[in-house]
């Protein structure tokens, strides 16, 4: 195996750019980013201050790219970063950061801290300091095709199951379809309702769509562990599939990081703009709604709230759409404190949910969601990310709160008006 400190530092030298330099130079150590990070607010431990999670990166920046830093290193005033140090930082960079970007939203000098965490992970990973859980996930995605090890036959079994249940044909590899629908393995394994919901909605809207046999898995563990080269391999499958099938739009499933990987990172990873559009399923649904292609009937009457997945709202810009959709099918929709782009993370993003070492901490910081839910008194939680959904369910169970969590797409599907 060939991870090494040198590799890590070399990659970080590539990663450090003007924004990172500007951010480090701007930091005034005010500590406000800590107040935005659930790992600090829920534990009170100052080591979880977001900017502190980047200390080794800061030193590398100074020692490599500033004249004074180089001089300080030369005369021994500034010590080089060591393997032991990076190992110690693993907990801060992976276990206690969900890449939720709340910190980037509050820093008064404007630092985009999550941007730096994401880049720092590039160096951490190839110097051998990524957590085993994430290494496993990315290995399975590369070698098998999905982080949970789901293979095509499992998808085909799902397709058959949904076909039998709904009587709607699930298209696969249909060239020229308007939409190519992606799944996340969580959906394949844990939320089979999703595929059925899509089938019904597409049918009602009268749109052509397809699954792709070579690219059904949308999640990208390469992004979470922070290895662009691997993330690129993963995203390339989707790009190739979409271009082979000549679809107009690729639909990201209810998974926040999948959306980020596909919508924002993909083109940069492959080094060229896409020839197709990428939309999150909620964006598609909202589009259908506004075009009158989505017809629902009846309303949920229990009090419901919506958890904005970080990558969808704060990191993705999809904030209005879920609210429009919630209002289509619920009567008692209430917002938690800090909704939309200010939402608090479920605690499991950024690969944290795939990282067993982080489990205890993740449950601890779930207290913020617990409080938010209690404040608003919702009886059901709706979200639009399969990962959030599992993490929320685990958290609620841990704190013995009997609140079901549902996917918004699925909720809409339940209220679809029957065909006329």
């Amino acid at each position: 195996m060939s991870a090494s400190l040198d590799k890590g530092v070399a990659v970080l030298k590539e990663m450090i750019d003007a924004p990172i330099a500007s951010y480090f130079e701007s930091c005034v150590h005010c500590g406000l980013c800590a107040e935005a990070c659930l790992f600090y607010t829920e534990t009170g431990d100052p080591k979880y201050t977001p900017i502190h999670k980047l200390e080794p990166l800061r030193r590398i920046y100074e020692q490599e790219y500033t004249l004074l830093g180089r001089l300080a290193k030369l005369v021994g005033l500034s010590k080089p970063v060591t393997d032991d140090e990076l190992e110690a930082w693993k907990e801060l960079v992976y276990n206690s950061c969900t890449l939720c970007a709340r910190c980037s939203l509050v820093c008064p000098v404007g630092n985009d801290i999550v941007y730096m965490v994401r880049k720092f992970r590039e160096g951490m990973a190839v110097s051998g300091h990524a957590p085993d859980g994430l290494i496993g996930a990315v290995t399975r995605t590369i070698e098998i095709g999905s982080p949970m090890g789901v293979k095509l036959p499992a998808v085909q079994a799902q397709m058959k199951h949904v076909q039998d249940e709904t009587g709607i044909e699930i298209p696969m590899d249909k060239e020229g379809a308007e939409y190519m629908v992606m799944l996340s393995s969580m959906e394949i394994m844990n939320f089979p309702e999703y595929l059925g919901a899509i089938a019904k909605i597409m049918k009602q809207a009268g749109k052509t769509w397809t699954l792709c046999s070579t690219a059904f898995e949308a999640t990208n563990a390469g992004i979470q562990i922070g290895v662009s080269d691997l993330a690129k391999v993963i995203v390339n499958r989707i790009v190739e599939g979409a271009e082979r099938l000549k679809v107009k739009t690729v639909i990201s499933p209810e998974c926040g990081h999948a959306y980020t990987a596909l919508r924002w990172d993909g083109a940069n990873l492959i080094g060229r703009p896409y020839t197709f559009k990428v939309l999150h399923i909620l964006e598609v649904l909202d589009e259908f709604r506004s075009q009158g292609l989505l017809k629902t009937e009846g309303f949920e009457t229990t009090r419901m709230t919506f958890h904005d997945p970080c990558q969808l709202g704060r990191r993705g810009g999809v904030v209005e759409q879920p609210r429009n959709l919630m209002n289509m099918v619920t009567k008692d929709f209430v917002e938690m404190d800090d909704p939309g782009k200010y939402n608090w993370c479920c605690g499991g993003g950024g690969g944290v949910s795939a990282n067993e070492e982080a489990e205890e901490l993740r449950l601890e910081v779930f207290k913020i969601k617990k409080r938010q839910l209690e404040n608003v008194g919702a009886k059901t939680m709706v979200t639009a990310c399969a990962n959030c959904r599992i993490v929320l369910e685990e958290g609620l169970e841990h704190y013995q709160m009997d609140i079901p969590v549902v996917g918004l797409t699925e909720l809409i599907a339940e209220h679809l008006a029957p065909d006329k």
């Binding site: 991870a3 070399a10 990659v11 030298k13 590539e14 790219y65 004249l67 070698e143 290895v227």
Partner: protein, 364 residues
């Protein structure tokens, strides 16, 4: 040499009444901030005094200090003072000239314990040739005069701190008396600085009166000035001070504020940093002082006042702060651009040396 007459004898010989003398002593006492009850004591002390021999040396100067001294009214405390001392050499004031004058100086120097008064700075460059008297350099003359002197009074800013001759670029290497002593170029003796360009006449005489009365050097500040005259700043005693405190400043010499007598700070008044007695003693027989006639203090009793920026630049404003700006900007840009090349090369090397990461690269 005959016995020197005492001051009292000398005064009597000149027809100065005891009453007039006491009046002078009272004036001297008030000048020195002593209680009026001290006047008889002063009179007694002065009266008993032998007129001490005084040698006045004028070096690189403009004669302004002497002019100041002589611009005094009658009956002058100044003239009284000069009746009390035996001014044995002053090449501007004395009647003798040429060899006779120099002879008088040499005679006076024979009896140790005389007082040396100096006005003007002393040039030191090129062996001090830039100012000579009777073929003797000022430096040499001062050295000789100090040998047997009891003390030296540096009259005027040139003698005290170098003054205008020392102003940048100081072509003659002008130095003050104190500086020469500090450098060991002339014998060390007690020094009283009476700066001013020129000093106030009554301050000169007051310092002398103090020395004669008490036979000792008065209390001096860190710049060697008697605190009784130089203890306060002009600003501390300025009658325009209430305007300063209220932030009412004249902006030009003929604006509303100037006419109303507002503070001259913004017109460059150096009162806040200048220590002198102008605001209390005043000039021209107590008529007024520069600020009273509408011009700011130029700080003439302070070292290097000539080099401290324009007289019309406010004290809070820097003298000329951007002289290095252009070169600093260029140098900064050079370092910055240099670093940007180095950094780009380094980043470029890291990029071109990039080995595509594989799953193997995730573990050691």
């Amino acid at each position: 040499m005959s016995r020197r007459p005492t001051v009292a004898e000398q005064l009597a010989r000149q027809g100065v009444s005891r009453r007039a003398f006491l009046k002078f002593c009272a004036a001297a006492a008030s000048l020195m901030a002593l209680p009026p009850s001290m006047a008889p004591a002063i009179a007694e002390a002065l009266g008993k005094l032998r007129r001490p021999s005084v040698i006045w040396l004028s070096f690189q100067e403009c004669t302004g200090c002497t002019e100041s001294l002589t611009r005094s009214h009658t009956p002058t405390v100044e003239s009284l003072i000069f009746d009390m001392i035996s001014l044995d050499y002053h090449h501007t004031l004395q009647a003798a000239a040429g060899t006779a004058a120099e002879q008088a100086r040499e005679d006076a120097m024979k009896e140790a314990g005389y007082l040396v008064l100096v006005d003007g700075s002393i040039p030191t460059r090129d062996g001090g040739i830039y100012s000579t008297i009777a073929g003797v350099t000022n430096l040499q003359m001062l050295k000789d005069a100090l040998a047997n002197a009891a003390a030296v009074v540096s009259i005027g800013t040139c003698a005290a701190y170098g003054g205008i001759p020392k102003a940048d670029p100081n072509p003659t290497g002008a130095k003050s008396v104190q500086a020469l002593m500090d450098e060991g170029l002339v014998p060390r003796k007690p020094v009283i600085n009476v700066p001013g360009c020129p000093p106030i006449p009554t301050v000169i005489t007051g310092v002398l009166a103090h020395y004669l009365t008490f036979g000792e050097i008065p209390e001096l500040d860190s710049l060697g000035r008697p605190t009784m005259f130089y203890g306060d700043s002009i600003h501390d005693r300025c009658y325009r001070r209430p305007f300063y405190d209220q932030g009412m400043f004249a902006k030009t010499f003929d604006d509303e504020g100037a006419r109303k007598g507002w503070c001259l700070f913004e017109l460059g008044c150096k009162g806040p940093t200048t220590h002198n007695a102008c605001a209390t003693t005043k000039w021209n027989n107590g008529t007024s002082f520069p600020i009273e006639s509408g011009h700011g203090c130029i700080g003439c009793s302070e070292p290097d006042f000539w080099d401290a920026g324009s007289f019309y630049t406010a004290l809070s404003a820097p003298a000329d702060p951007l002289t290095l700006a252009t070169s600093a900007t260029v140098a900064g840009a050079a370092i910055g651009v240099g670093m940007s090349f180095v950094n780009r090369a380094k980043k470029g090397a890291a990029k071109s040396g990039h080995e595509t990461a594989t799953l193997k690269d995730l573990e050691k």
